[in-house]
């Protein structure tokens, strides 16, 4: 299966049906709406302007493009609607390598030539991000072609298969027309997505966050460094920002909103669902460097008389994040904290065991107004993984988990 480099194809002479030269290849275009990899159109620079040559009528590539359609049939180019131009949109630009989980710059593209039912088909095979593409670009036209090819064969290629390449397009309309989504990127771990977006320019970050699904965007945003987090939320429109904030862990979302200019925070809050908004406003009122500022308001609590069966039932219905349920709390009818049961104990006990008999002694809790430092000391002293936070009336108001403490400690490192 012969391969061509995109930069070799660009500038190749084109011959008409009579065999005389009528132009050069200016661009190679895909129409992603039809096929994500197949070359659909060659844009030919002719003496009468740029014209579109559908790739289906190309009969041979080697030694110049030959075609079966007469030049008069080639449509004049008007814009590039719906076309992904490999030269302009990809060459030298940054793309996301989903497999290697990083942002890379494109040196060249490898195009694979196939023959399907006696028809010539050209597909984008991979993106060249290594020295081979670089050397080709540097020496093309300077060194004789034969010598250059011999040299290039000596250089091990560093390429990314086309299927693992995510494009970045900042124009929303074009993103839709070119079917650019971030399905593959979305499958990565939120922390990896965060690392990737941190390496992008602000407009590009915004583009990624507009395209990702809300819950993925929220997970990734939590992992992004605070300065970039702020910039992203400020650049998105408030409706989109609110959607993402709603999906974030409440404590992380509150920290982030507290850092934004007040005006912006209220714009985002206004777009949120009433219940989530109320919760967020409550969290925002707490001082940031107290226990309450660090705590999460999503936790699982059951009544003091509940059994293990009830607790497991409640666990199944719980919609919050999994890290907050490693401990399940017992509260009385006033909401006062009465006990804490580690998940492991529940798993080992029979369904009818009363929860009250499984509680951990002593019951460690902290007051909402406690300093962060005191909280960290409690975690260290009692080797905690979660810590309940209570208000003045001993009512359970939130939970701090060990990952919150790790972020806190790292921030002060």
């Amino acid at each position: 299966m012969p391969t061509f480099a995109l930069t070799e194809l660009l500038g190749t002479p084109v011959f008409d049906t009579a065999g005389s030269r009528c132009g050069r290849v200016r661009e190679v275009a895909l129409i992603p709406q039809e096929d994500r990899a197949r070359v659909a159109i060659l844009i030919i620079k002719t003496s009468t302007g740029d014209r579109l040559l559908p790739f289906v009528s190309v009969t041979s590539i080697n030694g110049g493009i030959r075609t079966s359609s007469p030049t008069t049939d080639w449509v004049k180019r008007e814009g590039a609607e719906g076309m992904l131009l490999l030269g302009r949109d990809l060459l030298d630009q940054q793309v996301i390598d989903v497999f290697g989980r990083k942002v890379v710059r494109v040196n060249d593209l490898d195009l694979l030539q196939e023959s399907v039912a006696n028809r010539l088909v050209l597909k984008v095979g991979s993106v060249d991000v290594g020295p081979r593409g670089a050397v080709r670009r540097l020496l093309k036209g300077v060194v004789p072609l034969v010598a250059l090819r011999a040299l290039l064969r000596q250089i091990p290629p560093r390429t990314i298969p086309w299927d693992f390449v995510d494009l970045i397009e900042t124009d929303p309309a074009r993103r839709v027309k070119l079917k650019i989504s971030h399905e593959r990127l979305a499958k990565l771990h939120p922390a990896d997505i965060a690392d990737i977006v941190e390496n992008l320019a602000p407009d590009e970050r915004e583009a990624v966050f507009e395209t990702l699904e809300q819950n993925v965007a929220a997970g990734a945003l939590e992992e992004v460094e605070p300065r970039v987090q702020k910039a992203i939320l400020e650049s998105l429109d408030s409706e989109r920002a609110a959607e993402i904030v709603e999906e974030m862990e409440p404590d992380a979302a509150a920290d982030l909103l507290a850092d934004l200019p007040e005006e912006r925070t209220s714009e985002i809050l206004l777009e949120m669902e009433p219940q989530e908004r109320r919760e967020m406003v409550e969290l925002l009122e707490f001082k940031e460097n107290t226990a309450a500022g660090r705590m999460n308001t999503e936790y699982l609590a059951v009544g003091v008389s509940a059994t293990v069966r009830d607790a497991i039932e409640a666990l199944r219905r719980f919609e919050g994040g999994v890290e907050t349920v490693s401990t399940i709390y017992l509260i009385d009818s006033h909401g006062t904290l009465a006990g804490a049961v580690p998940l492991a104990k529940i798993v080992l006990a029979t369904p009818d065991t009363p929860m009250l008999s499984l509680t951990q002694e002593p019951l460690i809790s902290t007051h909402a107004g406690s300093k962060e430092k005191e909280v960290a000391e409690l975690f260290d002293k009692y080797n905690l993984s979660t810590l309940p936070v209570v208000d003045d009336n001993k009512k359970l108001t939130g939970v701090i988990t060990s990952d919150d403490i790790i972020s806190l400690l790292r921030a002060n490192l």
């Binding site: 060459l91 710059r105 540097l138 407009d203």
Partner: protein, 418 residues
């Protein structure tokens, strides 16, 4: 106690306001700058003062363009050159940048060697030790902390202003020379043209544009906050050139009038501060030069490595491990090791080499300017933030003048006069 506290608050406010523009401007008065301005004053008295106003205008315009491109696109200069002009041009540009910046790194180590020699410290110890310090500061990720120390210490430049005043210069003459260029005969002199190119090259150095744009991006300045950055850039540029003016005046009224026309080492240059510090002038000078050199030496190789790796698509960043970003770290290391190594050659003329590197800056400047101008006027890149016609005229004029000066200098070489 309250006195200390008040100072602490003032310092904090100062650092909050100080942005990339001011930092860049400060680094601009590096070893190359100090040597070149000193030599200009010593050799030609007031005859280079007229360049200061046009240079300041050009510097503001050029730096502002770099800052604006950083804020609007969120990308570095080398990224933009790569994305808009392709691989080959970027590659050649980066080769050029590495060569010019290598010259600048050598100059910074020359500054380190020269300043510490004033304390009687041998360059064979000081230069390698400082090279290791510089390397470690960055690789161990301590740069941001150290930057504040450098910045605070760069207030040393104010001593030149004081020294300039105390030297009782011929104020009227100096002011006149600032506005009126010398007789056109001067422009036929090879050494004069050489110095003009050097003064422009050291003030509007190519690497500064890469560094400033990268810092703006790194700081996360966006279009919305751009106006504050513009102020920061303009203040920085004016400050740097006022200092430059006073260095020239101080050297003119001490060295030039007493017939010391050729500065050959740090001892000579330190005499410019004699009116201020008397016999201790050398201490002031040495500390200032040392700080400026070390400051720039920790920025230059790093900024070069970033620019090159980003433009050519190599992994970069001090947050990465050596194995993850080998090209980045090797380039950074080689620039420091070889740059310091050159200074260790016996009998190397420190000042001559330094000024030569600044002249090379001036010769390369127009190439960088052409790319910046083409980029900043691209509507699809800058949108409504493209340059105004006046800006373009000033920037293109700077480019043309620099090419003209370079050609004129080569022309004088041809005749073998000088």
């Amino acid at each position: 106690m309250s006195f200390l506290k008040r100072w602490k608050i003032r310092l904090l406010i100062f650092f909050a306001v100080v942005g990339p523009g001011f930092i860049t401007a400060n680094v601009d008065n590096d070893a190359g700058g100090i040597w070149t301005y000193s030599a200009a004053g010593a050799q030609f008295g007031h005859m280079l003062l007229w360049t200061m106003i046009p240079i300041t205008v050009a510097l503001i315009v050029v730096q502002e363009i770099a800052a604006r491109m950083g804020a609007v696109t969120g990308k570095g200069l080398s990224d933009l050159i790569r994305e808009e002009f392709g691989f080959r041009i970027t590659f050649l540009m980066m080769i050029g940048l590495v060569i010019v910046n290598f010259g600048n790194v050598v100059t910074e180590f020359a500054g380190i060697a020269g300043s510490l020699e004033l304390f009687g410290l041998n360059k064979y110890y000081t230069v390698p030790i400082c090279a290791v310090i510089v390397w470690l500061i960055v690789v161990k990720g301590q740069y941001k902390t150290v930057e504040k120390v450098f910045l605070a210490a760069s207030f040393f430049y104010l001593t030149y202003i004081v020294a300039g005043v105390l030297a009782k210069p011929a104020w009227l003459e100096a002011l006149e020379a600032t506005i009126v260029p010398p007789h056109k005969e001067m422009f036929l002199r090879q050494d004069y043209l050489y110095m003009v190119i050097g003064v422009v090259g050291t003030t509007i150095a190519p690497w500064m544009q890469f560094y400033l744009q990268a810092s703006i991006v790194e700081k996360g300045v966006t279009k919305r906050q751009y106006n504050a950055s513009r102020l920061d850039v303009v203040t920085g540029c004016i400050f740097t050139d006022i200092v430059a003016w006073f260095i020239i005046v101080a050297c003119a009224s001490t060295l030039y009038v007493h017939g010391y026309h050729n500065i050959s080492d740090a001892k000579d240059a330190a005499q410019a501060l004699h009116p201020l510090a008397g016999d201790y002038a050398y201490i002031l000078f040495a500390m200032g030069l040392f700080n400026a050199s070390l400051f720039a030496a920790s920025i230059l190789p790093l900024s070069t490595a970033y620019a090159v790796c980003e433009g050519l698509g190599f992994e970069s960043g001090v947050g990465k491990r050596f194995g993850e970003a080998p090209v980045f770290y090797w380039l950074y290391t080689i620039l420091i090791v070889v740059g310091a190594g050159v200074i260790l050659l016996p009998n190397i003329p420190l000042v001559k080499i330094s000024i030569l590197s600044q002249v090379v800056n001036g010769v390369v400047l127009p190439f960088v300017l052409v790319f910046m101008l083409l980029l900043v006027n691209k509507k699809e890149l800058m949108g409504e933030y493209v340059s105004s016609p006046l800006y373009n005229i000033i920037a293109w004029a700077t480019t043309v003048v620099m090419v003209g000066l370079t050609l004129a200098w080569f022309w004088t070489l041809r005749g073998g006069s000088g």
